[in-house]
């Protein structure tokens, strides 16, 4: 996929370019905001890795101009400045994700993968760990063995798949799975999670409990 790297620091830009190229993407690099703006007008990139601190027009402005045009380009903002404030401002302007410099390679790759997955939902079933999940057909199999899930267990599984790498709070799960009229016992969510856990944990995935808060989906050898 075509990726534009907008970064004025040559060391970091070289690293990013090499990494993404090795991952099999077509990578262009520009070192300032003006060129980034032109490149984004000329080419339909799937992803732009956008630094905020640029020598001419800053990354926010490039982002603002990009979002004024109809485009499906995903934006991963890199910031070395006031992390939280830039994050909020970037997301307000339509960035899809952010990373604060410095970041680890695995973190960067995970974000890029997640963003690219958005643009291209591969047809057919998803493979997560040892699970094969066919969302269309509502069918799951663990290591080739079919697993029967109830409607609520399906909904729960989809919640986890929709937000990979995020901890889901019990409140959030309750809100998504049940309507306001339903009276929930304090341990209702725990019960559903442990049922789902029992059914799929053979398949190279794990639902980890974050004590006092919620659950985190983990998959191995993904």
């Amino acid at each position: 996929m075509r990726i534009l790297v907008v970064e004025d620091d040559s060391l970091l830009a070289a690293g990013l370019t090499r990494l993404l190229t090795r991952a099999g993407h077509g990578v262009d690099h520009v070192g300032n905001g003006g060129m980034a703006d032109s490149a984004l007008r000329a080419t339909a990139y799937e992803l732009v890795v956008l630094d905020i601190g640029l020598p001419d027009i800053d990354g926010f402005e490039v982002l603002r101009r990009l979002r004024q045009r109809p485009s499906a380009t995903n934006v991963l903002v890199l910031t070395a400045r006031d992390a939280v404030e830039d994050r909020v401002r970037g997301l307000d302007l339509g960035a899809d994700d952010y990373l604060t410099k410095p970041f680890s390679l695995t973190e960067f790759e995970a974000r890029v993968r997640a963003l690219l997955r958005r643009t291209s939902v591969p047809p057919g079933p998803m493979i997560v760990g040892g699970l094969t999940i066919d969302v269309e057909a509502k069918h799951v199999s663990a290591n080739g063995t079919s697993v029967d899930l109830t409607v609520r267990e399906w909904a729960l599984l989809e919640l986890f798949l929709a937000r990979p790498g995020r901890v889901l709070s019990k409140d959030y799960i309750a809100q998504k799975l049940f309507n306001f009229d339903e009276q929930l016992a304090p341990n209702t969510i725990e019960v559903y999670v442990s049922r789902l856990r029992a059914k799929i944990e053979g398949g190279g995935v794990r639902i980890r409990t974050v004590r006092g808060f919620g659950y985190l989906w983990e998959s191995f050898n993904a």
Binding site: G53, P102, L105, V210
Partner: protein
């Protein structure tokens, strides 16, 4: 006037030290002057009435063969010499200075030779007396004396009539001066109270709006000083923020290349060295991040009246996503007990504080340990706390862990000793307290307490 003891360099005391003796001196001068005037008035008034019996007696001295003698009935003498207040005496001497009538106990007049009526002070039976004397043509000399009671009473009455109001005026003047000074320095008291209420880093100018003319220049000079301090610390913070920011991009590049290198098939020795470089880079990155956080905390104005109301529970909620993966990577059970904790403040700084507390807890707790984040409200306070069951902070270091760049000797890991300093700075900015409890066996509990946000919490509380 709230203080029991007026401090040594009190304006009021100095005023009184000058005012009381001056007023006292003036009152005494006035009293002396009045006394002299009163004496004069009393003397001239009563002298005239003392002369009359002397003249009467002089006219009633007859000279016959036996020589001069007083031709007057004893009743007439008594009537003549009666006085309701004073004792009166007389003496008549002939030309040879022999006493021919009256008391022996009056000395002859010192002005015996003159012919005019004369007045002078004398002594009669050890009492001071005022004496009027006349000498007739035939050399007869008459003295009439009276004690001084009514004269003295008159003098005292005049004195009292003058002194009492004068003293009252003096007292009122002192009271007015005291009140005026109290009123005059009231703006200073307000300034003092405002400064006492402020946090350690609140450098906003003081209001000059209702300052009196005399105090305004001092306030202006003080605000000027505050401004200069603000400017220079802003320059310093900007420098720190810029330096930290400028460091992060090259560090990001370095870290990225090292991590790419570590993915290659390296021989063990090279891998070890690159690994060390990687750790050093992470450490430098962490330091740059913390310096930036510190500069940001220092530059903030969390005391601002428009600081939003936030819930520390939300701050902790948001931290979950940032820390769970890192805790898992270190095999630490990161848990949460979150209840609503409403406060007024800067959510970004609060997040920065919590990040540093969690980072410390995870950093200094061994694999398999437990870290628990709590939020909640107790009475007038809302709190955010992070507890671990790590090694604890040695007792000798507990007072110093809040200092910048202080690291407990022998601590493993790559911390810079800024985490708690950042937390402290944020807590200070919000008028809160940072409490560190630690024991070698049970680990460390760090609690940040803030005034709970209640209606009107931004208005100065009456103390």
């Amino acid at each position: 006037m709230h203080e029991a003891a007026v401090p040594a360099r009190s304006i009021r005391r100095r005023l009184l030290v000058v005012l009381i003796p001056s007023l006292l001196f003036l009152v005494l001068c006035g009293g002396a002057l009045t006394y002299l005037v009163a004496l004069r008035v009393a003397t001239s008034a009563y002298d005239r009435s003392l002369l009359d019996p002397a003249l009467d007696m002089a006219q009633n001295v007859r000279i016959d063969a036996d020589g001069p003698h007083l031709d007057m009935l004893i009743q007439a003498q008594e009537a003549l010499l009666y006085d309701h207040a004073d004792e009166m005496v007389f003496q008549i001497r002939d030309a040879h200075d022999r006493v021919i009538a009256g008391t022996q106990e009056l000395a002859p007049s010192p002005a015996l030779k003159t012919g005019e009526p004369d007045f002078y002070d004398g002594i009669y039976r050890n009492q001071p007396v005022r004496i009027a004397s006349v000498r007739s043509g035939s050399g007869i000399y008459v003295q009439v004396g009276e004690t001084l009671h009514k004269r003295q009473r008159l003098i005292w009455e005049i004195l009292a009539a003058e002194l009492v109001p004068t003293l009252l005026i003096a007292l009122v003047a002192i009271a007015l001066a005291w009140t005026a000074v109290t009123h005059g320095i009231a703006p200073l008291s307000r300034v003092r109270e405002e400064l006492l209420r402020r946090g350690p880093s609140d450098l906003r100018p003081l209001s000059e709006a209702d300052a009196p003319l005399e105090i305004a220049p001092a306030l202006r000079a003080f605000n000027n000083l505050l401004q200069r301090i603000r400017d220079s610390s802003a320059v310093q913070q900007r420098f720190l923020a810029n330096a930290a920011h400028q460091l992060r991009t090259p560090l990001a590049g370095l870290q990225m290349h090292l991590e790419m290198l570590l993915r290659r098939d390296l021989d063990a020795e090279v891998r070890g060295e690159v690994g060390d470089m990687h750790v050093a880079t992470l450490r430098a990155s962490h330091l740059a991040t913390q310096l930036l956080a510190l500069a940001r905390a220092e530059a903030s104005d969390a005391h601002a009246k428009d600081a939003p109301r936030i819930d520390l529970r939300d701050v902790a909620d948001a931290a979950v996503q940032r820390w769970v993966q890192r805790a898992i990577a270190r095999n630490i059970d990161l848990g949460f007990v979150l209840d609503p904790a409403p406060v007024t403040g800067d959510p970004l700084l609060m997040a920065e504080m919590l990040d540093n507390l969690i980072d410390n807890a995870i950093r200094y707790t061994a694999s398999g340990g437990t870290v628990t984040v709590r939020s909640g409200g107790v009475g007038a306070f809302a709190y955010l706390s992070v507890e671990d069951n790590g090694a604890g902070i040695p007792e000798h270091a507990r007072n110093r862990v809040l200092e910048r760049f202080y690291r407990v000797a022998g601590t493993p890991g790559d911390g810079a000793g800024l985490g708690l300093a950042i937390a402290k700075e944020v807590v200070d900015r919000h008028g809160g307290m940072l409490d560190v409890q630690s024991a070698a066996t049970t680990g460390t509990l760090i609690t940040a307490r803030f005034p709970a946000s209640a209606p009107d919490v931004t208005k100065p509380a009456s103390s």
